[in-house]
């Protein structure tokens, strides 16, 4: 179902402009994040780098941010890869995974760190030349020092540098 939906969106999306040799390999994204497991909200900026080609599908992601909620604040540090399915289209679904060190600062208790594996599924839309808006969900699973859950939802913009 998801695959069909994404395929339909791909087919419907108009192609972007032709290959641009001056296109940047770097982008910055600034999503607002709401964490649904351990309620918290904040900003989770990310730096994106496309090592293979400026308009390539493979993207490396480096991100950090600050989220706060009624019971805790958290600071994630993320490194991962993202595969953009149709990088030159206006509408681009993507998926990715990576590792995320979560530093939890629960109110009234000592800070704790947890290493997570995160997945991400998202969609972004080019609105003007190098600007995109997008949304994303990112399930997280704790690897060490123990099991844990997480689910981040993000809404924000991205700009090519």
């Amino acid at each position: 179902m998801l695959t069909e939906t994404l395929l339909a969106m791909w087919m419907a999306a108009a192609p972007a402009k032709d290959h641009d040799p001056d296109a940047s390999r770097w982008s910055v994204g600034v999503p607002v994040e709401v964490d649904l497991v351990g309620l918290a909200a904040g900003a989770h900026p990310e730096i994106l780098f496309r090592p293979a080609a400026p308009d390539g599908a493979l993207t490396l992601r480096f991100a950090t941010g600050v989220m706060a909620g009624p019971e805790l604040a958290l600071v994630p540090f993320s490194v991962g890869v993202r595969g953009v399915i149709v990088p030159r289209r206006i509408v681009r679904p993507y998926g990715g995974l990576g590792l995320q060190m979560q530093v939890f600062a629960p109110y009234g208790a000592p800070a704790r760190a947890r290493l997570d594996l995160y997945l991400e599924l998202g969609l972004d839309v080019r609105i003007v030349d190098s600007w995109r808006i997008g949304m994303q969900i990112s399930p997280e699973i704790g690897l060490a020092p123990g099991f844990g859950l997480g689910m981040a939802t993000r809404l924000g913009f991205q700009v090519d540098l």
């Binding site: 019971e71 629960p106 594996l117």
Partner: protein, 186 residues
């Protein structure tokens, strides 16, 4: 995606979590020799929860009772009693404060949750910050034992009882979290 999920499963190390369960007024824990977190809600405040544990042999394990660490729940202090054979008999003063009579031949461990300074515990599976009575280890006899949870102040609130440390997540252990999401997640 499938590769990612397989990778995720392969990478999951030994968990550090209790098997979740949601409490009814009388709740029987199928296997008290593995770790559980039992979630309950005092709707009216005057209910008494009875968690029944039937040990196949004498068994020592840690317990703790947790409540939400947030301003609106700061005064919610449910009490906990472990009742069973081999525990010391309740004094008249303690017996008068218990919500139920202690069965003949049984004794009691009780924590009225009256400590001035309470421990705060971060539960990393669901990322909850909780007040806790603090962990305490106790040796219980073979056969039936019970844990009673009630609030002497008769005010409503959510509580979590953690017991044991041996993890067993077989048989859809986490399905209870998703069917009672509001009680586990903030």
């Amino acid at each position: 995606m499938r590769t990612a999920l397989l990778l995720m499963l392969l990478l999951v190390p030994e968990a550090s979590a209790h098997r979740p369960s949601t409490a009814d007024a009388v709740t029987t824990i199928d296997d008290p020799t593995v770790s559980w977190v039992v979630n309950g809600e005092l709707h009216d405040g005057d209910e008494v929860f009875r968690v029944k544990l039937d040990f196949p042999h004498p068994f020592a394990l840690p317990f703790e009772l947790m409540t939400e660490h947030r301003a609106g729940a700061a005064d919610f202090r449910p009490a906990l009693a472990i009742v069973g054979p081999g525990l010391p008999p309740a004094s008249d003063e303690v017996a008068a404060r218990l919500p139920l009579p202690v069965p003949e031949g049984w004794g009691v461990y009780v924590d009225f949750n009256e400590a001035t300074d309470r421990e705060v515990y971060f539960e990393q599976v669901m990322r909850r910050t909780m007040y806790t009575t603090g962990s305490f280890a106790i040796a219980l006899r073979e056969g039936p034992n019970e844990v009673w949870i009630w609030n002497p102040d008769e005010t409503p609130g959510d509580w979590q009882l953690g017991l044991g440390v041996e993890e067993d997540f077989t048989g859809g252990a986490f399905s209870d979290i998703f069917s009672h999401w509001g009680q586990y997640a903030y």
